[in-house]
């Protein structure tokens, strides 16, 4: 599988629909403190089925919905769509007939998240399995959150061992 594009709408500070094309090689993301760079990484983990609001710096999952600013009202929904190239046909059977897979997660205030793959409603578990089979997912060790290096350094040896379980 290859990830080609991610589209964010109403997700944290990305209130207006934003397309981020993910190209091969090394892509750098820069900008001042607080402008939204880490929010992009959180959107990737979120659409893959991240289920810990705390790991997204919130106290509840609704905290990922654009909360409004002094000039703009908050939103009631947030959705993120990940576009996957499946030409290699490595997806799980239930999704493996298409060249392109669009995985969407939509959250509505007070009503939780819904998931769709190419328009078809699926369970969170189906989405998590899709990404797990592709050696990725919300808890992939390749997604290094800000401060995670420090957590690894100060982790107790028993907790540090858990990083091996992602490789096993």
């Amino acid at each position: 599988l290859a990830f080609d594009k991610i589209k964010l709408t109403g997700f944290k500070s990305f209130v207006d629909p934003t397309d981020f094309y993910i190209e091969p090689g090394l892509t750098g993301i820069v900008g001042p403190n607080g402008c939204g760079k880490s929010n992009l990484l959180e959107a990737i983990r979120w659409v893959m089925g991240a289920n810990s609001a705390k790991a997204m710096r919130g106290s509840a999952m609704d905290d990922v919905i654009f909360a409004g600013t002094k000039q703009r009202p908050g939103r009631n929904q947030a959705h993120v769509t990940l576009t996957i190239n499946n030409k290699a046909r490595l997806a799980p059977p239930m999704f493996n007939d298409d060249d392109v897979l669009e995985v969407t997660r939509l959250i509505t205030k007070g009503k939780g998240s819904k998931y769709r793959v190419n328009g078809q409603t699926v369970r969170a578990k189906d989405v998590q399995l899709l990404f797990a089979d592709a050696s990725t997912g919300a808890n992939s060790p390749a997604l290094v959150r800000q401060g995670q290096i420090n957590e690894l350094i100060s982790a107790k040896p028993e907790n540090r061992r858990r990083i091996l379980e992602e490789a096993a």
Partner: protein, 162 residues
């Protein structure tokens, strides 16, 4: 479960030793499973010897040396089972320029040996100059993020002091 963990340990340890030496430009390091006969309850210890320095535990290293060692460990786990996407959020923050340069060289090598797409969130000018492309995130309207494709000089202006 136990056999798989030990097998994974060997693979990760092999990558780790090599990546440590690459990132530090020398020296050696290895992992050890300790404090328990059952590997499923064991601790993961990291023994390191940076170039010219004695062997010791990771906890005695400097802040930057610890960060570089932890980065080698994360990449070792990654290489044992490469993901289609790897995102590194300010991993280079505590590194001096020489270490950042080696870190970027390692990223280059990994783009050649894997199909992985890499995204590095950074404030570091050296890292910015080593990327294949740059995107800037701005808040022209307060509290609202915008994503824009950028050239290096534009990106440098974006992060420069006002």
């Amino acid at each position: 479960g136990r056999t798989r963990l030990l097998a994974a340990f060997d693979i990760v340890n092999g990558h780790f030793g090599r990546l440590f030496t690459t990132l530090f430009g020398g020296g050696e390091a290895s992992l050890a499973l300790t404090e328990s006969d059952d590997p499923l309850e064991a601790g993961l210890e990291v023994m390191v010897s940076p170039p010219g320095k004695k062997l010791g535990s990771m906890s005695l290293m400097s802040g930057g040396e610890q960060a570089l060692t932890a980065t080698a460990l994360i990449f070792a786990v990654f290489l044992s089972n490469p993901a289609p996407i790897c995102v590194l959020d300010e991993v280079d923050a505590p590194l001096d320029d020489a270490n950042v340069a080696r870190y970027c060289t390692l990223l280059d090598e990994m783009t050649k040996s894997t199909q992985t797409k890499f995204i590095a969130i950074t404030h570091n000018a050296v890292t910015m100059s080593r990327m294949d492309r740059l995107f800037g995130v701005t808040m022209a309207e307060q509290g609202v993020s915008q994503l824009l494709s950028m050239e290096l000089t534009q990106a440098e202006q974006l992060v420069a002091a006002e």
